[in-house]
């Protein structure tokens, strides 16, 4: 019986403790509430004071205007920087295109000179010259002339026209002859020329300013509208490299012939 009583007393104390803690918590809440209310009143007072005091408003307005101005200034700076960056991007893009074009041009020039010097067979060299003029320059009718004897230019290969139809030419006479004498590539109006005495381009082939022949263009491919900077570079490559390639191939074939003759004599002597 006494056990039950003491148990009940303990439970009662626990309930009282819980109630006491609840009361303390409520008290704390009330105190906090009071503090917040006081702060609110203080803020309302400050606001009312500010509203009543035009100087404070003016100060606040000036401060805010200053901040707006700063932000606008910052915005303008960012816009200017953005424009600068965009301009820089455009310059890089343009430069990239220029480099790409330069790269393509160099590839064309490299391929042309590589192919010209890839063989010592004269027929092959002539074939390469024709290929370059058709595929890289875009000519439809043209001829390769070689200097025979002292001053006669003779057509040795042609495209778009029978070789026999082409006139021989004397150095110093006519468009072809004058350009060869001057050892300078000469271009006329790239409208098609019906007259084989009047080519639209003459590229003299020369070794150390000594002419050995020429390439004469008479008509461009239908889709080719005119000459580009790359075409003029190709004219230079052809003028120099085709000349040396043809010269080297001729020398090689002559030396081959001589070597065969000598070998024939040696074989005869040995018998």
């Amino acid at each position: 019986m006494s056990d039950e009583r003491s148990k009940l007393l303990t439970q009662g104390e626990e309930v009282l403790n819980i109630l006491k803690r609840g009361a303390d918590f409520t008290k704390e809440l009330l105190q906090e509430n009071e503090k917040l209310r006081l702060q609110l009143v203080g803020l309302e007072d400050t606001q009312q004071l500010a509203a009543r005091n035009p100087e404070d408003w003016e100060k606040l307005r000036v401060e805010l205007l200053g901040r707006i101005q700063n932000l606008e200034e910052e915005n303008r700076t960012f816009r200017e920087r953005l424009l600068e960056v965009e301009g820089e991007n455009r310059r890089f893009a343009d430069r990239y295109l220029e480099i790409e074009e330069e790269n393509n041009n160099l590839a064309n020039l490299y391929v042309a000179s590589y192919q010209l010097h890839s063989t010592l067979d004269l027929d092959e060299v002539v074939k390469v010259v024709l290929e370059i003029v058709i595929n890289l320059i875009g000519a439809e009718t043209f001829a390769l002339y070689m200097l025979e004897r002292e001053d006669t230019l003779q057509p040795v290969a042609a495209e778009g026209v029978q070789r026999e139809q082409l006139p021989h030419c004397t150095v110093g006479e006519g468009r072809l002859g004058r350009a060869v004498l001057a050892t300078e590539t000469t271009c006329w109006d790239p409208a098609d020329s019906e007259d084989f005495n009047e080519p639209i381009v003459v590229i003299p082939l020369q070794i150390q300013k000594r002419p050995i022949g020429a390439i004469a263009l008479f008509k461009l491919l239908q889709q080719k509208e005119g000459f580009t900077a790359l075409d003029h570079e190709l004219f230079n490559v052809l003028g120099g490299h085709a000349a040396t390639a043809i010269f080297a191939a001729r020398l090689y074939s002559q030396s081959e012939r001589k070597l065969n003759t000598i070998q024939g004599f040696l074989d005869l002597l040995a018998e």
Partner: protein, 125 residues
């Protein structure tokens, strides 16, 4: 990424070298060369290709014949074909496109144009 294979069918070594130079700039692309239409047909029939660049005027078998043979063959008809030629007339273009060419480029070629067309047809980024 799987390698893409491109076949160049062109009789001029100069043009072949120039096209190889241009296409080498594409990543993951393997280039195979053929020197005429017959050589091209042999190569395209014996191996897988994702693109063919074909010249029209060639000895042994011309480009148009090669394209028509490719378009008749089930295993080859899906291969995109780019014609590269000196023939700039509209009727030549129409004839090639009618035969099944996907693009028609005229000489002298612009490397950038070849690259852009190849990128499109190979579906490269």
């Amino acid at each position: 990424m799987e390698k893409r294979r491109v076949l160049i069918v062109e009789d001029s070594p100069t043009m072949r070298q120039l096209l190889v130079f241009a296409l080498r700039r594409l990543k993951n692309v393997e280039i195979v060369e053929a020197q005429d239409g017959m050589d091209g047909l042999r190569k395209v029939s014996s191996d897988h290709f994702d693109l063919a660049l074909i010249d029209i005027n060639m000895p042994v078998m011309d480009g148009l014949k090669l394209i028509s043979l490719m378009r008749e063959e089930d295993s080859l008809k899906q291969i995109p074909v780019v014609v590269i030629t000196t023939e700039g007339a509209q009727e030549d273009r129409e004839r090639a496109l009618k035969l099944g060419a996907n693009e028609y480029l005229t000489k002298p070629i612009q490397a950038n144009r070849v690259l852009s067309v190849a990128r499109d047809l190979l579906k490269l980024d």
